[in-house]
Each structure stands twice: as C-alpha cells, then as structure tokens.
C-alpha cells in the first residue's frame, strides 16, 4: 500500500525545472532518494511539505490530497533536514515546549528516550550544537510525535560514521514498527544498508523508481556498488 504518492509534480524556476516527478512511498519501507546536488531532491521534498508552490501535479498522503488536508497530513508526517535549524538562540527545552503543543500525538516517553539516545542536552541552544547534533535535534522533533512517515533530507550529512551507523539502525527499527521513510542523500553507501526502494532523480526528472535490488541489477555491472552505479549513470548523462 502506498502511503504517499507524487503524480506529475512540476515546479519551474528561471534556471531549473522539476519535470513531472512521480513516485510513491510504500508503507513500512525505506525509500532512498538519490541524485547529485541540484538534481531536484530538495525541491521535490519541499513540494511534499507544501513549502513551495508547485506549478502542476498532485501530492497525496494516506489517500488524501495535500492541498486541502495539510493539517491532518502534517500531524502524521515528520521532517528532518541536515542544514536548517530553528530559533538558534532558544534552548531545546523552550523549542520543544512550544512544538509539542501542536501535536495531540506527542509522545513524551518517546521524546525522553530519543533525547537520551541522541545524547542531546535540553538546556543547549541550536547555535551551540554541531551540524551532526542539529540533525539529531531535528530528528528528535520528528520522532516524538509518532510520525507515520518520515521525510528526511540528507539526515546523515555531517554525522560521524558511528552516529550514521546508529541512525541507520534506528531507521531499521522504525521500519520494523511500520514507519515509512523517504531518505534523501548523496551518501549512497547509507542506502545500500537500509533502502528497500530507490528513486533516482537527475536534472529535475525521475530516471528510475525501482526496488533497490532491481535498480542495481538493471543499471549496474557485476560487482558495482550503488555509488559506482550512481556515478557512472551521472557521467553517462553528462556525456
């Protein structure tokens, strides 16, 4: 069953065009979203969160169109990015105290558990956190309201190898509990460890949307890793 679906989503900028992007997120599966910088990953994710105004197509979650059901849908999804932090000079405690008032499903016990798991100190401010800890803080907010879908824009960027490994294990646990994850990254080795499906975007167009094994079999050569396949496909596209 598809938890989220994008159908012919378009967005035009003066120098870039997201062209009829279509793919779906299967319930309880991890979907890796790959593409080089500027390929359209973040634009697609922003479209999925209604942060940008699309020029065409439709986005649906849980069978409902995002347009007109934004509140209900956002209650059930979580978002994390590796680059943006909110209210850099407020403490984590202050930000969380406000954020949780928006979520009737806020799980205080899960919040405490992930706070300890990520090693975050509530009295710290985002400005005092390293890039990796900011990622963990964003994930903490996303995980504490029992999101059924997690949309993660480069969540492992800036993390040390140990933290990345821990996070991938966590994604595996969440998946086992039925959570659906969209995981955008250019660190393709992370996807080899955890992704069920691969969405490959290049120059604003979806080039492939396949189960990971099928994607590797259809596009790869014997012994090639996902990263090697990705690099070769990009080079071929440029040639």
């Amino acid at each position: 069953m598809n938890i989220a679906e994008l159908q012919d989503v378009c967005k035009e900028y003066p120098s870039f065009r997201l062209n009829k992007v279509s793919f779906a997120l299967e319930e309880g599966k991890i979907t890796g979203f790959i593409g080089r910088n500027g390929a359209g990953k973040t634009t697609t994710i922003k479209s999925m969160l209604n942060l940008i105004h699309t020029s065409g197509g439709e986005i649906r979650y849980f069978g409902m169109p995002l347009a007109g059901h934004e509140k209900e849908i956002k209650q059930r999804i979580g978002y994390s990015t590796g680059t943006v932090s909110w209210y850099p000079r407020k403490t984590i405690r202050e930000i969380v105290a406000v954020t949780k008032t928006f979520y009737p499903n806020w799980d205080e016990e899960a919040y405490r558990r992930y706070l300890a798991f990520f090693g975050l100190d509530e009295s710290k401010k985002p400005i005092e956190l390293s890039e990796g800890m900011k990622v963990k803080f964003n994930l903490l907010l996303a995980l504490s309201h029992r999101a059924e879908v997690l949309i993660l824009d480069e969540p492992t960027s800036g993390l040390d190898p140990f933290s990345r490994d821990e996070l991938l294990d966590l994604f595996g646990e969440l998946k086992a509990h039925g959570v659906t994850i969209l995981f955008s990254t250019h660190i393709t080795s992370d996807l080899e460890k955890c992704a069920d499906n691969i969405v490959y975007i290049s120059k604003g167009e979806i080039r492939a949307f396949r189960p990971r094994e099928d994607f590797m079999r259809e596009n790869g050569r014997p012994g090639e890793t996902l990263e090697e396949i990705f690099l070769r496909l990009e080079k071929e596209a440029r040639a």
Partner: protein
Amino acid sequence: MSALLKKELRLGALLLTYLFIGFGLMAMIPGYPILCGVFFITLGIFQSFLNAREANDLVYSALLPVAKADVVKGKFLFAAFIELAGFAVMAVLTLVRMTLLKDAPVYRQNALMNANLFFLGTVLLIFGLFNLIFVGGYFTTGYKLGKPFVIYIIAAFLIVGAAEALHHVPGCEAVNAFGFDHLSLQLLLFACGAALYALLTFCACRKACRDFEKIDL
C-alpha cells in the same frame, strides 16, 4: 490558533517588544506629539518580526501541522495582541486625562493634540496601517522587512502630522475636545478609527494569506 499565538509570544517575540508597549505611557507627556507612542509600539513589533525571520520562523511554522494560511493569521494575531495591549495602556491614560486631569494647566496650555477619543481612533488607524503596509507587505516576499517598514513610517508620520494639525484648521477645533465635550463627534471619530483598524487588518490578512500560498520557502 491560540497555539500559534503562544508560539509567537514564546519563540518569536523579543522582550523589547513587550517593553515597548510601555511607550503607550507617552500619552501622558504634555506638549509632545503623543501619537508617536504608536510608532514606538510598532517598532517593537518590527523587531520581533526581524528576530523571527533570522530564526527561520516561517519555515518552522510552515512545517507544523497547520495550514499555511494559519501561519499568516498567527503573525497578524501576534501584531494585534501587542497593538491592543498598547492601545489598552493609552486608553486608560486617555480616560485619566479626560476625567481627573481634564482641567490640568499642562494639558490645557498645549498646542499639540489632546488625549481624547479622536486620539484613540487615530491610534487604531495607525495600527491598522501598520498591519496593512508592514505585516501584509512582509508576506508578499516572506523575507523583506525593510521596505514595507519604511513605507509604513512615511504613512504613519503623515497621519501623525495631519492629526496634529487638524484642530488648528478653522472649524475643526472640536477634534481636540477636552473631557467629554463634543462627545457625539468624538465617539464617531473613535468608531471610524476602530472600524478602519478592523477593516485594514482583515483585508491585509486575507491578501497576505493568498500571497503566502504562492511563496516558496
């Protein structure tokens, strides 16, 4: 909506904004253009908008489980909350000047505007202009604050100048009434100011909701 207002008050607002409500006390200064207090209160709101913008507040808010239009309404609600707090201070002091101090020589011998119902109506008109020009203008881009604030300052001081000069125009002396003199006219002028405040804020909010939908964050 109350959660969005709490978010504005606890995360977006600066202490300065609350302190600047105190500029409502300027309504008691004799021989001073007392409408300037309104400008300082809006300056405090401007500072909070600036602070919120630097804290990526719009993206944070748009990611919360609220409609995009609710983010806009939350900002208008916050501006109105501070404005009405400032207005309440001014209204109490105006009543004091209209009753206990209506014959005080420092206020009687005053070439500038008197604190009365016309003054309170003008206060609301300037707050309405702030909502229309500044708050509404902010949502045309989601990041440009300077230009709408400068345009607001020009409009606000034109109103201050006109309101201060009005009672010197022959036949318009009644706008500067003391105590409860010319009460019908004073009440009418206050009602006009209140109606304009509501109308300007409502129109600005509706337009801002439409504009914000089209903005890419």
